[in-house]
Symmetry: none
Subunit: 408 residues, 2 copies
């Protein structure tokens, strides 16, 4: 079943506003095993709408439109669709009554323009709007396009969602497919192309699943979809064997959540000392509810005085090795662990640029990470590409991943 979504409104084509309704609709569809093939945004322009609606009516089995059902002159979604589907508008007395009721309850008299909303195409049904005056419109197929269902919903998210849940979902239910399940695994400290090559044979072996690789600055996600839970479970097991400690988690998790869960299950705690990441590790950890059970704090030592006074590092250390160095990073991890009395200490230093960064002699993109634990201290160094924010963000993620590997 080919489904597409169209958002109508000139404001969605300029800067500052996004069509978020389609995200919610995609989620509701996926629960019924249905998915979107295309999304479009078009302005309140008659000709642009006509072209797009005509194309959509010829290629899709269900077209879901949001917006342009209001009472003003530039709300033309319904009128344009009625024209494209060659279905005349006639007043629906039940909708007219709903509009009057809506205003009566608010002790107002409806403006005449509102009654435009009582006009319903002859082959469509009006879906009652519990939160506003614009009814939804649903054509289950028309004489001119028997194969194409068209649903028009208001653009106001609250009204759109109520109409969908209460009125449209029951109509859609008989068309629902077998549910599509998703397997998502998060992989840490790995480049997208490396993961692509490494998992190629595995994906070929599980070719009946639909695979995607999603890379971000902080991690890579491998996603498989299928309606067969057993096939997904087999793929998950094979991935676990193949990736070993590189696999952070399967499901909805993240590196941060995995680290906090591991610490919690072991009854252990963490303190962080951040130079190049400037508080980002602390901010990512404390974004997660319940982080305070295991995360004690972070010394964001963004300057030599910060390192000396918050962490009480010896001045000779920094003079000898510089702030961006393996020795200083290891000393920071050990110092913050000791000062806060935590099981683990994690530290970062580096140069995220631009050149004026006075953190030390490291070349742009050079970063050091260290994990101090009950047994020993491990450290590692990388050179990361990209802008300042990319270097900071990746160091925060790969640093937490280094800790995760130490916890395994």
């Amino acid at each position: 079943m080919r489904i597409e979504c169209i958002a109508i409104g000139t404001e969605l084509l300029t800067t500052g506003r996004l069509d978020t309704n389609s995200l919610w609709i995609a989620d509701r569809l996926s629960r019924m095993g249905l998915s979107l093939h295309r999304k479009s945004v078009v302005g309140d322009d008659l000709e642009d709408m006509q072209t797009l609606f005509r194309e959509a009516s010829l290629r899709s089995d269900l077209v879901i439109c949001t917006g342009g059902l209001g009472p003003t002159f530039d709300d033309l979604t319904k009128e344009t669709w009625a024209e494209v589907l060659e279905d005349p508008l006639v007043e629906d007395p039940r909708v007219r009554e709903d509009i009057l009721d809506f205003y009566r309850a608010r002790q107002h008299i409806p403006p005449e323009s509102n009654f435009k909303q009582a006009m319903v195409p002859s082959q469509a049904q009006a879906l009652r709007n519990g939160a506003g005056t614009a009814p939804g419109i649903y054509w289950p197929g028309t004489r001119s396009r028997p194969q194409c269902r068209v649903l028009l919903l208001p653009g106001v998210p609250l009204e759109m969602k109520q109409l969908w849940e209460q009125q449209f979902e029951p109509l859609l239910a008989p068309l629902a497919q077998q549910q599509v399940l998703t397997l998502r695994v998060v992989v840490g400290s790995t480049a997208e192309s490396a993961l692509d090559e490494r998992t190629r044979p595995l994906r070929a072996r599980h070719a009946q699943l639909s695979w995607t690789i999603l890379a971000s600055i902080t991690h890579v996600e491998l996603v498989a979809r299928s309606s067969d839970p057993a096939a997904l479970e087999l793929a998950r097991q094979d991935l676990q064997t193949l990736l070993g400690p590189d696999l952070v988690c399967a499901g909805n998790g993240s590196i941060e959540e995995t680290v906090l869960d591991l610490l919690r299950s072991r009854g252990e705690s963490l303190a962080v000392a951040e130079s190049v990441t400037g508080g980002l590790i602390a901010a990512r950890l404390t974004a997660i509810p319940g982080a305070s059970q295991v995360f004690l704090g972070s010394a964001v030592a963004y300057s030599a005085p910060g390192k000396l006074s918050l962490l009480e590092l010896p001045e000779e250390l920094i003079q000898t090795h510089g702030t961006v160095s393996e020795a200083t990073t290891r000393a920071m991890a050990e110092a913050v662990r000791r000062r806060l009395g935590s099981t683990w200490g994690l530290a970062t230093t580096g140069n995220a640029g631009p050149t004026e960064d006075p953190l030390g002699p490291g070349a742009l993109g050079t970063v050091f990470m260290a994990v101090a634990g009950p047994q020993n201290t491990k450290s590692i160094h990388y050179t990361f590409p990209g802008a300042r924010s990319d270097i900071q963000s990746r160091t925060a993620a790969w640093g937490m991943d280094l800790l995760r590997r130490s916890l395994l």
Copy 2:
């Protein structure tokens, strides 16, 4: 000139991810007096892409695509366009060299799959990507579609933006319409509806400008557009008079940048002690290049031990007043200022929820902020609505704004 934007990626059709690149592109186009007629999203599906690209090439003067230029099997944007435009791919030795250079600089050997990115359609030009390995591709018109320009950009925002600014904008400039200028002012610690009412008469007085109010969790922006620089300058002056200290900055700035600029111009420095914001203030400040000149560090004291050992607060203080209290927040601001030897100390405490948050007795959403300076210590308390991340984010912004007001 009819321009449309197409984002490619199955992940943009399912829940959770939105195409935000098109917002940025719409903004850049609007500065050149150009606007989008349509936006679409399509998955990594060969047939869906073929249909959409064919339609777009017939109806638009410029088609801007983002995504699907990566090295993996499901990146097919370039290949599909080459087919639609009947333009064969040939290896570009210059791009191959760029890819080798990119990996050499990182002391890695490129995976073979990366060289797929060196294939460039014969009638197109490759636009050098300064931040990644996928070049942009630009057809200024082809033999099969002479009227249609097609631009392919990577989906990674950083790479997309760099390519646009450095490589594509000069090519687009001759086609630009009359330039539209923008006045943007940032307003701190203010609700959207309050700013709407307060600026209504001013906006009516400058009705020849086109006005928008954009609210986020952290601040409100008031934007005016016009092709008349004098009219914008008059509006800016009136806004300055009307808003006084509530106006954070005009132009591209932010609260963080304004605070750092004010400190720098006064030769002063800042240290932060964060409880409820968990490192967010430090992370926002250190995201800005050059922050280290004035920002010394942050003690992220996310636990009582954190407060006691990083800030050396007296245990009785916390026992008497609790961690979420005006007295503790003031003591934190003063302690971090003293320990790091900074001109100013900024501190936050609060309860961002959910209920298990052990930070203290404060009701959900209660936050305290304090600024300790050379003369005295100021503090303020709010109750913020919303989710955990909203409360943390707003506290970080309003805390920095409290410091900004103290610096005026």
